[in-house]
Symmetry: C2
Subunit: 401 residues, 2 copies
């Protein structure tokens, strides 16, 4: 053997894709003595283990051969039916199973959208701060990002309007409910105005909705798929309401968009793991999902309340934060000139972890924002961790002045 | 609501990806009275249903929460260890678990390689006939295909040499054992010469090996990964030796190639479904795999023998075919001027289906070749189907003269 290839054999695209900074932070937090607000996982104590196990046993006993063979690219029909029916009953969205494509988690939905829509240099409007997984997925297709700020009301409509008129924009990626990383939800008026700006344009809104079912207060808002179905692809997932290890998500689309997405799906992995689709469907059929979701909502609501209460008690007054009505995250803004990365270095010494805001921006560094997760920590631990973090912040903010 | 976007909003790439012609044929064969040699599936009667069910039950009972959470992009460590160990014991290939990346089926391995290596217009050497799934996967990245014929000995070495010197070639996609669609295996000398041509170049050989364990006669040949590890990425899968519905495959690579592939994997679907990885590993741990593989080999060997015997008895002398030593397919060459597509139309009237060769070529149509699958049909059915197909061929060939 001579040697490995010496030149740069790799595609241009792969060097542009950011590594998951969060995964690197999570390695730091493997230390069990660290209180971690850094993760983005659902609470494992709430997984319906017994019910999923019973569903699996039943399937292996009754339909073993059927659940083990190759299946269709679009996904298991009964599961697609269930999803279509739930949209109807929960959100008043009228779709058929043909509008549902099962994906290998929502992350694959993003990859399929990149494959289907993005040529090099095509514009993508991304929220600022925005979901890291979407930035990674679209970077693969060498898109050009146009960040638009989200604040308490939702997307910056002026910026949205300007980006839509100044650039050729193929996709606008949005998480309108309990956004990752900020916990912000677009208010009803903000949605309607954004919908009006998009309607009839050659721009697709990607409405990513992994957390929508996890509302613990306030009223549900209109889905973009209901407002402008012709301009929207809607993404959903069982990861946060059942369990993530199955990697079962879905896309809702229609007509030619769906046809192209199915071709992209075939080329990507033939079909989503069928055994997981069958187990989840059996679980849903035998148990329903509403009382289980209610349990998750209640727990996350309590943990969120505990976090806000502890922040009110222990954070310096200069520090601001969002007050999410659902989901798993809240967003902290520090005084100008205090990089969250510096806070992270001090905080980890006090055995508290979080994610500094940096990876959620496409073109900013050393930002003064950070993401806190409350889904995986009980109320006492939340209190202890926030108190310690408050101590770090107090010291660092006094030193600024 | 006004209307859907009117312009062509789709990426250039997605219109270049061939639809799965085979899936369209399979729809035709849903009719149970049709004898189908068209499929590409493993025999469902051989799935280890009971053992997989027991593995799933044990996992849910003992480690329910652990098997339901998010996991690592690289895959379940114990499964990667098992795979590394099996390469050592079966093929004498010395790799570590770090060299193994779990993928959502081998098809995803191809997509990740496209993401990692291919810019628009980059050359890909593809076997002629070649695997349709690879043609689809690489088409997404707008590669330029350079077909190189395979015959009884393996790849056309002259053509390989010429393509490597005439074009910038990033990947050479090969199925050296029991190729899909032809059933051909590269002989030892052919592998060694191909390896010499590749060694030290900036071209990666993609050695796709889903069938390698399914040898029912003859001697195992050297893996390219053993001959030229620095120039090879090796793909494997549990689909043909355990069951396809889990969508669990893997890539073997090293160094910077592996680093880039992991980034591509993260962006594509975060990680492969973890529950499936755990069930398969538990199954392997509790049962071993050798006696199960032996059962598959014996069955497919019998069915292949029945098919060859029936072809010898019922096919006109002008028709040639391969005699595979393993795998699931054989390849039929008709006399010049007789398109397999025409035969298909007659044959389906006689309730026998197969796949005409057309989709396995990147730049040929109305070819006189066809793929027959023997993994899913018992010996009596093979005989009946081949006899009918022989009748069709006799008539059409006489009409030619």
């Amino acid at each position: 053997m001579k040697k490995e290839p010496s030149g740069n054999i790799f595609s241009d695209r792969i060097s542009d894709v950011p590594r998951s900074f969060i995964r690197d932070i999570l390695k730091l937090t493997a230390d069990k003595s660290i209180i971690s607000f850094a993760g983005g996982m659902p609470n494992r104590d709430l997984f319906p283990v017994k019910e999923l196990g019973a569903a699996a046993s039943k399937l292996f006993a009754r339909s073993g051969k059927d659940i083990l063979q190759y299946s269709t690219s679009e996904g298991y029909w009964e599961l697609r039916e269930w999803i279509a029916h739930r949209y109807k009953s929960v959100k008043g969205i009228g779709i058929t199973p043909e509008n549902v494509l099962i994906t290998s988690g929502s992350q694959q939905g993003l990859d399929l959208l990149g494959k289907t829509f993005l040529d090099e240099g095509d514009g993508v409007i991304i929220e600022e701060p925005g979901y890291l997984g979407a930035i990674q997925a679209f970077s693969v297709y060498k898109s050009l990002f146009h960040p638009a700020r989200v604040d308490m009301d939702g997307i910056d409509l002026e910026r949205l309007k300007q980006a839509l008129s100044d650039y050729p924009v193929k996709l606008y990626y949005a998480v309108p409910d309990f956004q990752n990383p900020s916990g912000i939800s677009y208010c009803e008026e903000n949605r309607r105005q954004a919908a009006t700006l998009l309607e009839g344009r050659d721009t697709m809104l990607v409405e990513d909705d992994p957390y929508g079912e996890l509302r613990f207060r306030g009223e549900a808002k209109s889905s973009f798929y209901k407002l402008i179905p012709g301009n929207t692809v809607l993404l959903g997932s069982f990861s946060k309401i059942v369990a993530p290890s199955f990697r079962i998500g879905w896309l809702v689309a229609a007509g030619e968009v769906m046809e192209k997405l199915v071709i992209a799906k075939q080329a990507s992995d033939l079909h989503t793991n069928y055994i997981g689709q069958r187990i989840i469907y059996q679980y849903l059929k035998d148990n329903g999902i509403d009382s289980h979701i209610e349990k998750i909502r209640a727990a996350y609501g309590r943990q969120r309340d505990a976090m806000i209460a502890a922040m009110e008690a222990h954070f310096p007054a200069e520090v601001r934060y969002t007050r999410p009505e659902g989901g798993m995250f809240l967003w902290v803004t520090l005084p100008e000139g205090l990089p969250a990365m510096d806070v992270f270095k001090q905080s980890i010494g006090q055995k508290v972890a979080f994610v500094p805001g940096d990876p959620f921006y496409v073109n900013k560094k050393d930002v003064n924002t950070m993401r806190l997760n409350y889904s995986c920590v009980d109320e006492d631990t939340v209190h202890t961790g926030i108190k310690r973090l408050g101590g770090v912040l107090k010291k660092m903010i006094s030193a600024l002045q």
